[in-house]
């Protein structure tokens, strides 16, 4: 069943392969999240789009030259060919399962969000429906999503971002070229941000000016996200096995060039959509909107838990009024600091935020849903392949069981909403970068890279990355206490941590203790780090470890036989 695509592969033109590769690169989580990142973080949010584009070039430069010799159908098989033995293969399979499983969680979160919005369901039920649709697709069509299907889906994804942005660019600035027209929106945003501050409608302590760099992320973490996404993409298992299968080296590199071109159009439209949404939200606040007359879209997304006003989920006008009246500095008018929009919702909600018609919303939602259902095939297929199911063509039961199991686990995780969709997708790329990139790329380019080195690099890279990813986010209090001396926290932040901890220890059991823990945990997440490296920039720690292990162990413990793949 996997080999369906191998058979049709060579007939595809590089441009069609490029479209398919671009669809796999961007995929539904990033389609939903990219605009949201720029909306929430301004300049700093551009790190995600830049990382994806940079990854396609890395894929072309570092991996594509070896395509003709990659008879291997999956990354674990490739490791078996290059290094021999079972240990490199097994470890690669573990890395594939972890990274692709995480990507599948992000895919299900994206599909669930769109389904919930379209059918008016709760998120949990919507994720179950989306997961069932994926499973049905998997059962009916087997594991391969044909190249041309993914090519068409990429065109739909492009449409989802271009339909609203072209319309708005033409309406607002008379220039239907969003990539150029939104420059005017940016300067309007700057002006409005100043006006809001002057009129006391925004709080200078929490406002993040869109054009000011390094407000949400410092340069180090910005570069960490770019590196994590680009290295992860170059090593991402579904890229290797699907988009280049059956291609010559020449076809592979031109597919990557086309993919970069198509991705460029999409990635550069995402900030435009973010700017238009931001401008509309700022205008809403600048119009002195009464809390009793909020637009309906706020409640539509508030009911999904994506909009918070005055610290409470915006489910209806009455609850908003109640939450805002309870604030110490209560106001009857919406202020910028009262309004929190989840980055997850921006792409989907942009047509309504900017006042476009329901037709545009329908188009965007349909495109995102199609993208989620089709691009989720890649991780699912790589995951099933990693369990060694792809050779057992005789019985379809084993791959089905593995696929269904993976979908159920991923669906349960997605329903807990572990973090924003973009964060989860970034984790998936980071795990691939930490676990696979050093062993894959050093192994391809350096004849002396040895199997023991690959094994040690994968264990250390994966181990460090997983520990850092999980501990800084979910065990942050313990992490900070263990690694206090390495944290970048200043004396004030350390003092606050001590006070919050004392408050938690002193609190009586029950809601008071829970609230104290929430405050302590939230604060600890900001300061639980090594040298100021944040959760999303984990690759900055894992990559040096993996590369050093690869090089030092290879020198100390050379390989016995000359590997075929090195030059």
């Amino acid at each position: 069943m996997v080999h369906e695509e191998t058979r049709t592969g060579p007939t595809q033109a590089p441009a069609v392969r490029g479209l398919a590769l671009a669809a796999d690169t961007v995929s539904a989580p990033f389609l939903l999240g990219l605009s949201g990142a720029v909306f929430a973080w301004g300049y700093d949010g551009l790190a995600f789009g830049l990382g994806l584009g940079a990854g396609i070039l890395l894929l072309q430069l570092l991996v594509a030259p070896f395509v003709p010799q990659m008879g291997a159908a999956s990354v674990p098989e490739l490791f078996a060919v290059r290094y021999g033995g079972t240990a490199p293969r097994t470890l690669a399979a573990v890395a594939v399962v972890l990274s692709m499983g995480t990507l599948l969680v992000a895919q299900l979160m994206a599909a669930g969000l769109v389904t919930a919005r379209l059918l008016g369901l709760e998120i949990g039920a919507a994720i179950a429906i989306a997961g069932a649709a994926l499973l049905l697709n998997f059962v009916l069509r087997g594991m391969a999503a044909a190249t041309w299907v993914r090519a068409i889906v990429f065109l739909l994804m492009l449409l989802a971002l271009l339909a609203p942005t072209v319309q708005l660019s033409a309406e607002w600035y008379g220039l239907p070229l969003p990539q150029i027209a939104y420059g005017s929106a940016l300067s309007q945003i700057q002006g409005l941000e100043e006006t809001l501050l002057e009129q006391d409608l925004a709080d200078p302590a929490v406002m993040k000016p869109m054009l000011t760099p390094f407000v949400s992320l410092d340069p180090l973490n910005f570069l960490g996200i770019v590196l994590g996404l680009s290295l992860g993409l170059a090593a991402l298992p579904n890229m290797l096995s699907r988009s280049f299968m059956g291609a010559s080296a020449r076809a592979a590199r031109w597919s990557a060039v086309w993919a970069l071109l198509f991705a460029l159009v999409l990635l550069s439209a995402a900030p435009a959509l973010a700017a238009y949404a931001k401008l509309s939200v700022l205008k809403l606040v600048a119009a002195h909107t009464d809390l009793a007359h909020l637009p309906a879209w706020l409640f539509a997304y508030g009911r999904l838990g994506l909009v918070r006003i005055c610290g409470a989920a915006a489910t209806d006008a009455a609850s908003v009024a109640k939450a805002c009246a309870a604030l110490p500095d209560a106001s009857a008018i919406l202020r910028l600091q009262d309004l929190t929009l989840s980055p997850d919702m921006i792409t989907l909600a942009a047509p309504q935020i900017t006042g476009l018609g329901p037709a545009t919303f329908g188009l965007v939602a349909a495109a995102v849903l199609a993208a989620a259902l089709v691009t989720a095939h890649g991780p699912l297929m790589a995951l099933v392949g990693a369990f060694g199911c792809d050779q057992s063509d005789r019985s379809r039961l084993a791959p089905l069981a593995v696929g269904a199991g993976a979908l159920i686990v991923a669906g349960l995780l997605a329903a807990t909403h572990p973090a924003s969709i973009l964060d989860v997708a970034t984790w998936a790329f980071t795990i691939a970068a930490a676990g696979l990139f050093p062993a894959l790329v050093v192994g391809l380019w350096w004849r002396r890279a040895s199997a023991p080195a690959a094994v040690i690099a994968m264990i250390l890279g994966l181990g460090v990355a997983l520990h850092y990813l999980v501990a800084t986010r979910y065990l942050s209090v313990g992490f900070f206490e263990t690694w206090q001396s390495l944290s970048s926290a200043g004396p004030t932040a350390r003092e606050i941590f001590g006070e919050l901890k004392d408050a938690w220890l002193a609190a009586a059991r029950g809601p008071a203790r829970d609230a104290a823990w929430t405050a302590l945990d939230a604060h600890a997440q900001d300061i639980a780090n090594w040298w100021g490296i944040g959760n999303l920039a984990t690759i900055l720690i894992a990559l040096p470890v993996g590369l050093a292990a690869m090089i030092l162990v290879s020198l100390a413990w050379p390989h016995k036989r000359a590997p075929e793949t090195a030059s």
Binding site: Y43, L46, A47, G49, L50, G53, A54, I56, L57, L58, Q60, L61, L62, P65, P68, Q179, I180, G183, S184, L186, S187, L211, P213, F214, P219, F222, L223, V226, L227, S230, S248, A249, R250, R253, W254, A256, V257, L260, L261, A263, L264, L267, S268, P271, W445, S567
Partner: protein, 85 residues
């Protein structure tokens, strides 16, 4: 690139088209890591209504990467002609 001078003589097709892409990676590092890092000094200049630093991170660097990809692919086509069958 220097390898331009002696192209596809077929003597060592593998070594030629498999040369480690130092220059292209250098360009990658410049546009992906250095330019976004230097955003504050770039923002002093404006291009087509954007501060230059923002423009580069949003699309300028990606356009530059596309150029690097095209140049590198053409170069490799030339020096690796013997290898692709």
């Amino acid at each position: 690139m220097a390898s331009n001078a002696h192209r596809s003589d077929g003597a060592q097709p593998r070594g030629r088209s498999r040369r480690f892409p130092f220059l292209a990676l250098l360009a990658w590092v410049f546009f992906v890591l250095v330019v976004p890092w230097a955003v504050q000094s770039l923002n002093i200049v404006d291009v087509i209504g954007f501060p230059l630093g923002f423009f580069m991170a949003a699309q300028g660097s990606l356009i530059a990467l596309l150029l690097v990809a095209v140049l590198s692919a053409r170069l490799r086509d030339r020096i690796g002609a013997a290898e692709d069958r």
